[in-house]
């Protein structure tokens, strides 16, 4: 379980994160949703140790940690594939960087390529394949980190609606087949409702948690589910009020 207790952050005299408490259950899919520019990415930067935390604590599996640099894998809106490396080489990068056995890594990557429909494209350069394939490759790389925690920073927001749908189901794989603890940031309410076990609505800056909704309906879910549609309206209302204020 990941716990964030009383995190606060500011740049100069601008308070970015108000006082934030958050719990993400182990093996759960926690989705953070909030107005743009509310400081979600700053939160991830604090978690990954890119920005030193100013106040508050991060607790992972019951132990207080400085940051999650060694614990988390990370995926962004930008695929961040190295343009000079083939898709396979990109997927092997985490293994290469921490000196793991490459033969074993190659086998794992090969399996993941098949799972995510990238088979046959191992030797292509990122520029030679579609945005959806690049993002799937980024997903393979994220899995190749072999870390228990996965941080997703709007991983699908650069994709078209159809590609996004198919990738959402692949994100579910992360949780269901690989037992990862997932924390995802998104702007897309529907996406949040389809994927989340726990949905956290964030305020605009300075960011704090406004509401937490636990969803326990089984996945995969359908966007047309009346329960979800009702929730969707409610969440949009809350977010809209937050913007108007």
């Amino acid at each position: 379980m990941l716990e964030i207790i009383g995190i606060r952050h500011g740049f100069r005299d601008l308070a970015v994160i108000g006082r934030m408490d958050l719990r993400a259950a182990g093996g759960g899919f926690t989705v953070l949703i909030g107005p743009s520019g509310c400081g979600k990415t700053t939160l991830f930067n604090i978690l990954t140790g890119v920005v030193p935390g100013q106040r508050g604590r991060i607790v992972w599996q019951g132990r207080q940690v400085e940051h999650l640099e060694q614990t988390a894998a990370y995926m962004q809106q930008k695929d961040l594939l190295l343009p000079w490396c083939s898709l396979l080489e990109n997927a092997l990068l985490p293994a290469r960087m921490d000196g793991r056995n490459l033969e074993e890594a190659r086998r794992q990557a090969g399996e993941l390529f098949i799972r995510l429909g990238l088979e046959g494209f191992e030797d292509y350069l990122p520029a030679e394949v579609s945005g959806g394939m690049r993002q799937r490759c980024a997903l393979v790389r994220t899995l190749m980190f072999q870390r228990p925690l996965v941080l997703l920073d709007e991983p699908l927001s650069a994709l078209d609606a159809i590609t996004r749908r198919s990738l959402q189901s692949m994100l579910l794989l992360l949780q269901q087949d690989f037992a990862k603890t997932i924390v995802m940031i998104t702007h897309d309410v529907e996406e949040a409702l389809l994927l989340a076990d726990r949905l956290v609505i964030l305020s605009r800056r300075p960011m704090r948690v406004m509401e937490t909704i636990d969803l326990d309906s089984p996945k995969p879910r359908r966007a047309s589910d009346p329960e979800l549609l009702r929730l969707r309206e409610r969440i949009l209302d809350v977010l809209q009020q937050e913007l108007v204020l």
Binding site: Y74, L82, M97, D98, F145
Partner: protein
């Protein structure tokens, strides 16, 4: 930068034609301004002499580029690795270019002798600067998303350099190298003017003293061709190495 060869040829041809025509219309003595036809004849007729000297200058330039590359790559990497080092070295880097090469040429000849060594150093002094600056700029321009990614992968500085920063900076490096090779001839020729026993610069000084202006021009033609040749070679390497652009 790839100009359409047709246009380049047309421009060159027009200039040469105008030059040739004016030489024929206004009868200038050959020791003031020989027509291009006379220069061409000399450039071919004295080819053995020119080639022997071009070989000397060419080797000086190539060695100068080699020396400059070694210094530039080491310097840019060190400055990138350490902020304090960058701040400490930057003023000297600029100062090294503020001093006119002509001012230090006689000193270099005293220190390194009349042989090729002083010319190699002189060429290197001119070439290393654009390469160092471009390479450093390239390292620094790396997308922060990639930095975070490599940080989370726990990559050592050496691995980051090899797998991320170096390929990332490669296009910048080539931009610098192109500037470097196109001014490389200046360093070598100035070195030869100040004191030498062979080389195109030496030949020019000798021919100039004897009012063999056609030979001076012929040497310039050979020098220019060498410069263009080097540029083309770098362009070829760039297309091969920066295959993802």
């Amino acid at each position: 930068m790839k100009a359409a060869p047709g246009i380049a040829l047309a421009v060159a041809f027009s200039i040469l034609a105008a030059w040739e025509a004016s030489c024929r219309l206004i009868p200038l003595p050959d020791f003031i301004l020989p027509p291009p036809s006379a220069i061409a004849v000399t450039a071919v007729a004295r080819a053995p002499l020119l080639a022997a000297n071009a070989m000397v200058t060419g080797l000086e330039i190539v060695a100068g580029i080699g020396l400059a590359l070694a210094v530039a790559v080491a310097l840019a990497t060190a400055m990138f690795a350490s902020r304090p080092l960058e701040r400490a070295l930057a003023p000297f880097l600029i100062a090294s270019q503020a001093v006119p090469v002509f001012a230090i040429a006689p000193l270099l000849v005293i220190w390194f002798g009349y042989g090729p060594a002083s010319k190699v150093v002189m060429a290197a002094v001119i070439i290393f600067f654009p390469i160092t600056v471009s390479l450093l700029e390239g390292f620094k321009s790396c997308d922060p998303g990639y930095r975070i990614l490599f940080r989370l992968m726990g990559a050592s500085f050496g691995r980051r350099l090899r797998y991320l920063y170096w390929p990332w900076a490669l296009p910048y490096f080539f931009a610098g190298l192109k500037v470097g090779v196109s001014v490389a001839t200046i360093g070598a020729v100035i070195g030869e003017w100040v004191g030498s026993q062979a080389g195109l610069g030496y030949l020019m000084i000798q021919a100039n003293a004897r009012l063999q202006v056609d030979l001076v021009f012929a040497a310039i033609v050979w020098l220019s061709l060498m410069g263009v040749g080097l540029w083309a070679l770098v362009g070829l390497l760039e297309r091969r190495w920066v295959y993802w652009k």
